[in-house]
């Protein structure tokens, strides 16, 4: 009886506590600026799901127009409206991933899934390396070092060449290149956390090794890992841009920022705006994510009473 009353009241208390924890974001000016930038692009992506000024794939206008009152950001070399393309280009990065089997898509953009992939994969490896130590540690870390030693571009080319051009291939590429970094961080945190007495207490209960790694260690390592992932979303967007620029990125015809730059660069002397706008979009989203992550990290590590 006593306990039930407790449980009800604790829900409210917990909400309040959660608000208290998360509201630290507003204490940092750079985190707020970052959040506004991210918010802007997420809104643009959501709006583009239902409405864009014109169709992003239709050749309705004169080619290579500078910004004007009809096409606010101008048109590209095929006469498509750049604003519409920019807006729907956000979708693949942040909102939806197209599956190769027919016309299906799943929520969550390529960048988000890629980072989640490297988070899962990297954490799994890092926890095992840090907690088991010894031979397991050596094997895992040598494997990851070998992965890092490959030049990235070569790695991308190998993956795309073997899997073909698709959203999933890009996600796989992001996962594979991001995992070693996450694993190193997770391993470092685990090495520190596993010296604490509560891990000894779990060991004296003869807990399963996976229970210790995922229920005793991971919850205490999640803060730094999440901040790191926020930064990684930025890198992933950059990477999608790079892949698009190389012509091996997300498959056409739906627009994405990287391929927009790649296509427009051939006409850069005719129309600079077609290159500038997507470049600016990539930069602003990456900067936004970086500022947000930095702000959160700063607030989290600051001395608190």
């Amino acid at each position: 009886m006593e306990l039930q009353v407790n449980n009800q009241s604790t829900f409210k208390v917990r909400m309040k506590k959660a608000w208290k924890t998360y509201s630290v974001v507003f204490n940092s000016r750079i985190a707020v600026i970052g959040m506004l930038l991210i918010g802007f692009w997420i809104t643009a992506a959501v709006v583009s799901l239902f409405w864009t000024p014109y169709s992003p794939t239709a050749f309705d206008f004169i080619q290579n127009l500078p910004p004007n009152s009809i096409n606010w950001l101008g048109t590209d070399h095929l006469g498509r409206d750049i604003l519409s393309r920019l807006m729907s280009g956000t979708q693949v990065v942040l909102l939806k991933t197209r599956l190769p089997w027919g016309d299906f898509w799943i929520p969550g953009g390529v960048a988000i899934w890629g980072v989640l992939g490297s988070l899962t994969f990297g954490t799994l490896l890092g926890l095992n390396a840090g907690y088991r130590r010894g031979v397991a540690d050596h094997v895992i870390m040598q494997f990851l070092d070998a992965l890092i030693a490959f030049p990235r571009i070569v790695l991308y080319l190998v993956i795309i060449a073997s899997l073909g051009q698709s959203d999933l291939a890009v996600i796989f590429a992001i996962t594979l290149t991001g995992a070693p970094g996450v694993a190193r961080l997770a391993r470092g945190l685990t090495l520190d956390i596993q010296t604490r007495d509560y891990i000894r207490a779990a060991e004296t209960r003869a807990e399963n090794i996976w229970f210790i790694m995922f229920f005793e260690i991971l919850p205490n390592a999640k803060g730094p890992l999440l901040v790191d992932c926020m930064l990684r979303v930025g890198y992933a967007i950059f990477m999608i841009g790079t892949l698009g620029f190389l012509g091996i990125g997300l498959p056409p015809p739906a627009p994405d920022w990287g391929s927009m730059i790649n296509e427009a660069r051939k006409y850069i002397f005719l129309n600079q705006f077609a290159v500038l706008w997507p470049a600016f979009a990539i930069a602003s989203l990456v900067i936004g994510l970086n500022l947000f992550a930095d702000g959160i990290r700063e607030e989290m590590t600051r001395f608190q009473k």
Binding site: L3, A201, R205, P219
Partner: protein, 705 residues
């Protein structure tokens, strides 16, 4: 030594000092109304629990308050010169080299990448125009004065090449190099072992006689104060609550807080059957949360209406030489404390049947850790393997419901022994039986029903609980793991345990960061008890706690033992604590058991020579007690190549009692005295019995408050 200012003026004069820190949304007054005077050649002790503002006071003198701290009110005079409201440049000039400071951890105050000589010379060459040769000479002189053996070679060494006690000597020598008028020592012996601590304290006492320096000695340990200081200031919640000479304070404390501090210490002559410890309830309030009126009233047993409303001032208590901040000091003696009547009733201790089979039987247990070297031979599995011999031939028995105390200095193998028993480490050799089952294998190879019967309480309250889970779920976890309690009854069982720990059910949903150190330790004990184990291993459970909290935890452990008939193995480096809680005591040195037996037999002759040295090193919280003066020379040898035979033979002060001292290099015989008291020593029991007691225990017993 030439001091500026007149001879009669005190070295340090603090008057009505208040220090504040600016924090988010306002400021916090860390210190209030501190007044104090230290004369030339005096040692003034500052005691109090952690968080009472002792270090803040020291930092305010040397202007280490940090970016957000400042002196808000009051005056601070060094050799008659005002230090408050001066610019930084003037301050440096005034203070210059008149104040030196010694910190807790010597390893952190010495630069690990510089030779000790260079570091010491730097002190002289930056402050004075002095040649390198002269500086070198002065440094060697100073090292001689702090009784450092072989100073010339020490000057050439790096900090990691000398022992902890020697490091602290070097730090003290460095602090004295420029003849400071005031030397501030902030917990200088807290990080050291008892025998090393004793030697450093001897040095501090001698410094007082040889140099004219005034010393401010900050510590939480009343025993240390009794040994070194001439005056004591007791601090509580940022205020000085009592100030007087050492003998006055220990004989006749006038403030209830001081009385509480003295009362909650286990006395070396007392055990759990004959006495109870009196903890101070509650905890030190945070600086932004201090009560109205007297700061101590919420924890005071004598508190009255006046205490809650009116703030007492420091006054000289009539009939004494003590300054105290209390309204009712004169009346305290005549009043009976309420809590005393409640706890002081007769205790019936659980009597165990020692004729039955022991619950734990260890024989010839060994633990060697293989050493890794980076040689090429090693890579191919060639070459001689080297081992850290952490535990050598440990044998003992523990009976149901008893407490075995294990004492010894750091690195003596206490923790290795516990880890091997509980299965975190695999025994290298030997036999260990628990309830008749073999436990010399690792925990992962043991049966779950056996795992559940062995649980552990850890040392560090800050890391004993997982910060991500609530108190309730952490206590419930062992119950779920071992299925000792049906699922739907778990919450009520947890609450029952919390109540046994004297914690209210509200703690169920709290998180570790909301708890104080003592509360965390209680939850740690509750978690160990949750699977209803037969044997609980306690690894220094009270050494990181304040004395007032330590008393409460010790009482709690004794009560639990009576209630649940649990058997305890209790590790500690504090001999008074072990004396209080244990039925049997085991003394260890460098992985070997030196002496084991019933608690009263260990603390009286015949002693093992190592036990004797340990006992004579403890700082006793009573300035009148006479203690034998035995100091061990050198440092603990390496466990990789320990001395042959008796491992204590290289430092044994009693080795000269033997006709043939070379015999110590063979394994010592087990000599059995009365009550199964075993001494592993070559010196015969008759000779050991003739040795006088280290401390006159009768005197201690009569002094109990």
């Amino acid at each position: 030594m030439i001091y500026e200012g007149s001879d009669t003026s005190p070295v340090l004069e603090i008057n009505d000092l208040a220090v504040a820190y600016k924090v988010r949304g306002g400021e916090v007054e860390a210190l209030q109304n501190i007044s104090l005077e230290i004369q030339k050649g005096e040692t003034c002790g500052i005691v109090g629990e952690s968080g009472c503002g002792k270090s803040t006071m020291a930092w305010s003198i040397v202007n280490f308050l940090g970016a957000n701290g400042y002196i808000k009110r009051g005056s601070l005079k060094l050799l008659g010169k005002q230090l408050v409201n001066q610019t930084k440049k003037e301050l440096n000039k005034l203070r210059g080299n008149q104040v030196s400071m010694v910190f807790q951890d010597p390893m952190q105050s010495l630069n690990p990448s510089m030779r000790l000589g260079e570091q010491m010379k730097e002190v002289l060459t930056t402050h004075f125009k002095i040649s390198n040769d002269q500086a070198h000479k002065r440094c060697i002189e100073m090292l001689n004065k702090v009784y450092m053996p072989d100073p010339a070679t020490v000057m050439k060494r790096y900090p990691h090449q000398i022992s902890g006690g020697q490091q602290q000597r070097v730090v003290i020598a460095m602090a004295l190099l420029n003849n400071p008028a005031l030397l501030i020592m902030d917990e200088p012996t807290t990080a050291l072992d008892v025998t090393v601590e004793a030697a450093v304290l001897d040095l501090v006492a001698k410094l007082r006689e040889e140099f004219d320096t005034a010393i401010m000695f900050i510590t939480h340990n009343l025993g240390v104060v009794a040994r070194t200081c001439s005056k004591v200031g007791v601090m509580y919640a940022g205020e000085m609550v009592e100030f007087a000479s050492v003998t006055d304070i220990f004989d006749n404390p006038q403030h209830p807080y001081t009385q509480g501090l003295i009362r909650c210490l286990p006395k070396i002559g007392n055990d759990k059957a004959s006495s109870t410890l009196y903890p101070i309830s509650g905890r030190v309030p945070a600086p932004n949360n201090r009560p109205e009126g007297c700061v101590f009233w919420p924890r005071c047993d004598y508190a009255q209406q006046r205490c809650k409303l009116e703030r007492p001032i420091v006054r000289l208590i009539p009939g004494t030489n003590i300054q105290a901040r209390c309204h009712f000091s004169e009346e305290l003696k005549h009043k009976k404390r309420q809590s005393l009547q409640n706890i002081g009733s007769e205790k019936v201790l659980f009597q165990s049947d020692t004729t039955k089979d022991p619950i734990l039987n260890i024989s010839k247990l060994k633990k060697y850790y293989p050493m890794r070297s980076n040689s090429v031979w090693e890579m191919f599995g060639l070459g001689k393997k080297r081992y850290v011999k952490a535990l050598e031939n440990a044998s003992f028995e523990v009976h149901r419901g008893k407490t075995l105390g294990i004492v010894g200095e750091s690195g003596c193998g206490k923790s290795t022994l516990l880890k091997t028993i509980i299965g975190l480490e695999k025994a290298s050799d030997g036999n260990a039986q628990f309830l008749g089952f073999d436990i010399s294998k690792q925990i992962s190879r043991r049966d779950v029903s056996l795992v559940k019967e062995l649980q552990m309480v850890f040392q560090n309250p800050d890391s004993t609980m997982n910060p991500s889970y609530s108190v309730g779920s952490q206590i419930a976890r062992p119950m779920k793991r071992f299925r000792t309690v049906p699922k739907e009854q778990i919450p009520s069982e947890v609450i029952k345990l919390l109540k046994a720990m004297r914690l209210s059910p509200q703690y169920y949903d709290r998180f570790p960061r909301q708890l104080s150190g003592g509360e965390k330790q209680r939850v740690g004990i509750a978690r160990a008890l949750a699977s209803n184990p037969d044997l609980i291993l306690c690894d220094e459970p009270v050494s990181a706690l304040d004395v007032s909290v330590q008393a409460a935890i010790l009482n709690l452990l004794t009560n639990i033992q009576n209630e649940f008939e649990t058997t305890l193995i209790f590790i500690s480096h504090d001999l008074s604590v072990v004396r209080f809680i244990s039925d049997e005591v085991c003394v260890m040195y460098l992985g070997q058991i030196m002496e084991i037996g019933p608690v009263h037999a260990i603390y009286a002759p015949p002693y093992h020579p190592y036990t004797e040295a340990l006992l004579s090193a403890i700082p006793l919280p009573d300035p009148h007690l006479q203690q034998k003066h035995i100091r061990l020379h050198g440092s603990v040898p390496s466990a990789i190549s320990p001395p042959q035979g008796c491992r204590f033979n290289t430092r044994c002060p009693r080795r000269n009692l033997l006709k043939d001292p070379a015999i110590c290099e063979t394994a010592p015989p087990q000599q059995v005295s009365i009550d199964g008291h075993i001494i592993n020593c070559h010196i015969s029991l008759e000779q050991l019995k003739k040795i006088e007691p280290v401390i006159n225990l009768k005197k201690v017993a009569s002094n109990v408050v």
